[in-house]
Symmetry: C2
Subunit: 525 residues, 2 copies
């Protein structure tokens, strides 16, 4: 299907994508210039977040990129199976949670658990995800003017040659952005019906689970677990490490962690830490019926369930690229790159979830852009060793910079500014603080649910070195806080305290800093 | 009641405050050092946001402030009648709005309008506001170590002398932070029962209004109107100027304004612009029954109602201070100050809602701090000519910097980056963009409700000159955007596009900028 001279609108793109997804033999979608034997500056193998942003940036710089993707749409797994459904589900979880807590209070009716359905939300997502796909195809073609070949699996021949849809494409460089997929440990019984992960959940779920056992303690485990539980699906998380104390999450503050994990338990979730799943057991109907777990004590218990969700992490799709190109790959499956996204093979770059670091959107997109800028001759490095991070439970949880404990290791005079304050004699569980936008109803009705916020300051330099938040409405701000505190000059409490707060700001860092900034000798608040 | 040697906890403070409020003859609350005839660096007349922050800053700097307030609590009108209830009501409005749109869809039950009550929310606020008062008294005494005299009306004798509670206090300086109160125009019938403003709403409402006519088009009119309407109280706003096109709001982008005001109409509100209220008419029961309004056409109409809400603005409490001190006061009632908050009388400062500029928290607090720092000998100016602004309808609406039209007046190459995009052939009302945290459920079910965002860029300097947002969860970020774009060096799309976004960020400014940043010649997106 050659669309080079066509300009499908969103509805037309939607139909093309849906038809292509429905038919395994559907034809490739071509948006390619007419010149014979073009030499691309780069072929982006994979048109997910990294490939799409990298190619768009290269094109904007005057280069010539080509994107090839096996899916009939650009944008990759995010709008299809990953971040977008996760955010839809987490927003539902927040709302369900509020409706449960306020059942028959104020304007909230009696909460009706029979209405709350995982399956309904999955269906809502499936019915709507095509719009995001259509928009990205439209935008990439019409606004960003990038050539692409979709619905066609690329075969990497060598470091300048890729074939797809029966054609051969030559490029000065290859940029590998082939993503990652969930990886399951080797536990008996995982082939039983009723065992799903974030991919198969949206593609295959066809019943309403009543109970869920989550294997793994990743972000995904916490986020999907909080959602399942909020719908009324009684959820147990089985994790080797304590939640939020895994290697993949850095800088997690212990007080924040307690607020978050205690909050999950308060909502009826069972969290079993230090436990190992032994096997998944089937029932008479041939479906999953229970999970056998070895506890920290060595004791084995059976957890009855009709749904097992795998939250054990992801691994890059790397085999074909490694075999064809000989690029260096870590034991974790991540491709070795330098700060310019260059692999061990000259002219070959890797980006997104294929490389080390957090499998987050900012890294995917910026690594793609870094590859593009490097190829176009810019001297650019992308250091993602420090970044703001977040997850959702029924709350939005965001943090950046150092935890209090990390700061105390580095600095002799650590100052903590926190809500609610930890002060002797104050009845903090019943203190409606933080009283902040997003948790106002909680603050006035159920103060212990109104969130947590902490600013970590080096008292000597007066610099903010960490910020931590549980609540709603502060995540967006952490993008800018990250930028400000990681600038070479940093961000002092004096600068922060002189900003113009928008009261009742979800985090009260500006005004709380101001209350202490007058003093040359900073103290906790 | 001398509490100097007492350390009331929150519960005890709560009881002291409630008892004081309940009894007009209750005694003053003293937290004063024991020295005889002290000379304060400043007496802060008024312990609202400005007085409390100014006094705390002065104390932190080593100065000696005293706060005197007629109320038995610190914090002023914000936690008692203004910003805190407004935010509680706006959060309820957001939630009610969602529950209405989704009635009997997904996990939302049939919306039950009989549960939605203005009176219930007022009662919820009244039952809880004492906690904020108690905390501020506790914090100011125990953590900030500021002397205060509460539940005692100050009388200004001269510029170094104030009396209160039968005592005379001497100070090197006076800082006037006496706030503002709603002002009502001269319209017959405003004395009828059922005519309220944001003060009397929380203090006096004792029935459930069924219909509301709001007189005035201020932020307060829009915010309270959206709340009343969301509860099911059929609401009409009668405004002389088009909403959001009043002198007191600057930099309002016309596209944002349309999204907001159209959104209010879409939710059933009646907005009559260019109209003048003529009189408020009573019914047989002696209560308000209708409002006579002269339309732009000159025609007069009667709007039946059982509730009139005044949203016509506020005026400082200035008479006593002007009479006693002879300070210059504008026709608007605002006290004339320079950028150090100095009035026309040496040693007398004015802060907060008493001076020109927006009656917002950042200005109140920072003006108090500016007065304190000036008194303590610092060379400090506070320029509040530029600031981020916001209001709530059932949405959170935030903006900073220039509107598109203002930018086009100043710059020849204005670049607009916007969601949803305005592109021919795109079916934008049904486009689920912005698909962003906070409006995910809307994006997938009712795409036209999923918000609006616009970034205004000067294409020549590549600087962001304005940002505009309707949705949820971005307000906090605008504090930092304000700081960044108003720095001398500004914020370029290149810097913005290189930040680490937290996807699905409520505003997509980081990644949208990145999609264009590769080009030396910026274009709209």
């Amino acid at each position: 299907m050659d669309l080079r001279d066509e300009h499908p609108n969103l509805g037309e793109w939607n139909r093309i994508i849906e038809a292509s997804l429905a038919d395994p033999d559907s034809e490739p979608i071509l948006n390619l210039d007419r010149d014979t034997d073009p030499l691309y500056d780069a072929v982006f193998v994979g048109g997910g977040a990294g490939g799409r942003f990298g190619a768009a940036y290269m094109k904007a710089m005057g280069g010539r990129p080509l994107i090839i993707d096996a899916w009939p749409f650009l944008g990759g797994s995010c709008p299809h199976q990953a971040c977008v459904p996760h955010h839809l589900f987490s927003e539902a979880a927040e709302e369900l949670d509020r409706m449960r807590w306020f059942s028959e209070e104020l304007f909230f009716p009696k909460f009706d658990p029979s209405r709350a359905s995982i399956l309904d939300l999955v269906k809502l997502f499936l019915a709507g995800r095509g719009s995001a796909h259509a928009f990205m195809n439209w935008q990439t073609k019409e606004q960003l003017d990038v050539e692409f070949l979709l619905n066609a699996r690329a075969t990497i021949v060598d470091r300048t040659t890729v074939t797809a849809a029966g054609r051969t494409f030559r490029a000065k460089n290859l940029v590998l952005g082939m993503g990652a997929r969930p990886v399951w440990p080797d536990i008996p019984g995982l082939d039983l019906p009723g065992v799903l992960d974030w991919v198969s959940l949206v593609e295959e779920l066809d019943y309403e689970p009543q109970r869920c056992v989550i294997i793994g303690g990743s972000k995904v485990a916490m986020e999907y677990g909080a959602f399942f539980n909020a719908t009324g699906c009684q959820t147990t998380i089985v994790s080797r490490s304590p939640l939020m104390r895994t290697r993949s999450l850095h800088h997690v503050d212990e007080d924040l962690r307690h607020y978050v994990v205690d909050g999950m338990r308060k909502r009826g979730m069972t969290i079993i830490e230090g436990a190992h799943p032994v096997r998944v057991n089937g029932g008479r109907d041939g479906r999953v019926a229970s999970v056998t777990v070895r506890l920290e004590t060595g004791e084995e218990v059976d957890l009855a369930t009709d749904f097992v969700f795998m939250g054990t992490g992801e691994r890059p799709t790397v085999d074909q690229a490694r075999d064809a190109l000989g690029i260096d790959v870590l034991d974790t499956g991540r491709v070795v790159v330098n700060k310019r996204m260059q692999t061990s093979v000259p002219g070959v770059y890797a980006i997104g979830d294929m490389i080390d670091g957090p499998m987050e959107m900012f890294k995917a997109r910026k690594s793609g852009v870094t590859a593009a800028r490097t190829i176009m001759g810019e001297d650019i490095e992308f250091d993602y060793s420090e970044y703001p991070d977040f997850l959702h439970t029924t709350y939005e949880v965001t943090w950046v910079g150092l935890s209090e404990a990390e700061a105390r290791e580095q600095f002799s005079d650590v100052v903590i500014i926190q809500m609610p304050p930890t002060v002797k004699g104050l009845d903090t569980p019943n203190l409606p603080l933080p009283c902040a936008e997003g948790t106002m109803l909680y603050a006035f009705s159920k103060p212990e649910l109104s969130g947590f916020q902490k600013l970590v300051v080096d008292g000597d330099s007066r610099r903010v070195v960490g910020a931590h938040h549980v609540g709603y409405g502060a995540k967006d701000a952490f993008q800018y806080l990250d930028h400000l505190i990681h600038r070479p000059e940093g961000l002092t409490v004096d600068q922060l305290g002189w900003m113009n707060e928008l009261f009742l700001n979800p985090e009260h860092f500006v005004q709380l800093s101001r209350l202490r900034a007058g003093s040359s000798d900073l103290r906790d608040l």
